[in-house]
Symmetry: C2
Subunit: 221 residues, 2 copies
Amino acid sequence: MNLDLSSKEKVVDAAVKLFNTHGFDGTSVREIANEAGVNVSLISYYFHGKKGLLEYLMSSFLEGFLGEIEQIYQHIEEIPVKDSLIKMIDNLLGYQQDNYQVARFVHREITIDSTLIREVMSSYFMKERFYLHEILNHGMKRKEFNRLSAPFVCMQLRNLITAPFLNPQYLQEVYQLAPYDPYFMKNYKKLVYAWVENTLISTKYVPEKLNLPVASVGTGL
Amino acid sequence: MNLDLSSKEKVVDAAVKLFNTHGFDGTSVREIANEAGVNVSLISYYFHGKKGLLEYLMSSFLEGFLGEIEQIYQHIEEIPVKDSLIKMIDNLLGYQQDNYQVARFVHREITIDSTLIREVMSSYFMKERFYLHEILNHGMKRKEFNRLSAPFVCMQLRNLITAPFLNPQYLQEVYQLAPYDPYFMKNYKKLVYAWVENTLISTKYVPEKLNLPVASVGTGL
C-alpha cells in the first residue's frame, strides 16, 4: 500500500467532524472512510478500528493538554506563582484553540459513563490533578494565594479553561460567538484573569472554610 | 392496551440510563424497551420514536430549569438582587439534583452540533438568556452589582451552575465526589456564593472593560 502521511490526518479530521455532529456511537467506520476519501481498511491499519481511533484522539489531545501543565510546573520556582498560573491559562486556551474540533470531542466524550473512558482516562486525570494541586499549593505555601480547598479551586479553574470548547454550540446560538475567534478569546481571558485575581489573590472575600477531605498532595501519581 | 402511568416513567428512566452510558445515537428503541421491560410499540405510542423521546426529555427538563429562573425574575423587585440571585442558584442546583440523570444527559446533548438540537433549543436558550441578563442588569441599575459585561458574566454563572451535572464522571473519578451528594453540594454552593460576592459585588478587582458588543436587553424574546 502506498500510504502517504496525510491519509492518517484525513481520517482523524473526518472522524472528529462526524463525531461532533453524530456522536461517537452514531458514526460508523465506513462513514469515516467515505468522509476522508480513503479505503476503509486504512482505519484498521492505522487505528485497529473505531475504538482505537477514540483512544488515539483522546490520548493525543490529553497528552498535549497535560504537557502544557507539566511545563509550567517544571518552572514553578522561577517566577511568581500567579505569573505561572496566567501563563498556564494562556497556553491551555491556546492549545485548545489550535485543536478546537478535537477539544470539543474529547471534553464531551469524557462526560459519558463508559468503562472504556474510565480506563483510558483515569491515569491521565490523576496526573493532571496532581500538577494542578501542586501549583496551587505552591502559591499557598509562598503566601501568594489565599488558603483555599485545592479540589474545589482546581475544579473551577479547569471548568473555566475548558467550558468554551465543550459548549461552542451554546456560545454560537446564544451569543454568536466562537471559541476559536481571537476577539472572543481576548475577552474571555480577561474574565479568567479576573477570576484568578478575585478568588486566589484578593483578600476581600474568602469563603468560609470548605469542609472537604482535601486530598493530600502526591497521592495522585 | 392497559397503559399504567408508570410505564411512561419506566421508558424515560431506561432511556436516560442508556443514553448516559452509550450515547443517544448508540442506543436503539429496542434496547430502551428491553431495559424498561415494556413492549417496543409503547415508545412509539408515547413519544413517536427516539427523536420524540429526545425532544420530550430536553424540553421537559429545560422548561423546569427555565421555570426556576422565571420565578426569580418575577419577584425581582421585592428583595435585594443579590438575594434573588442566591435563591436562583440554590433552586437551579436543587432542581438539577432532583433530576440529575436527565440533567447530565441534556447538558451533554446540547454540546452536539445537530440541526435537531438547534431547532429544539434555540428558542429556549434565548428566553433563558433574556431572564439572566435582566436579573444582572437589574442589579447593575440598582448599583448592587459591579458594571460588567452581561454575556460573559451570564456565561460564567451558567457554567458554574451546570458544570457538576455535566461532568459527574470527572468528579467521581478524580475526587470521589458526586453532584447528588448533599455534602458535596453544600460545599459547592459556598464556592458559587464566593464567586457572586467576588465577581459581582466586591469592588476590589473589576476587570478592565470587556470590549464586547453587549446584546441589548429584550432582543432575546
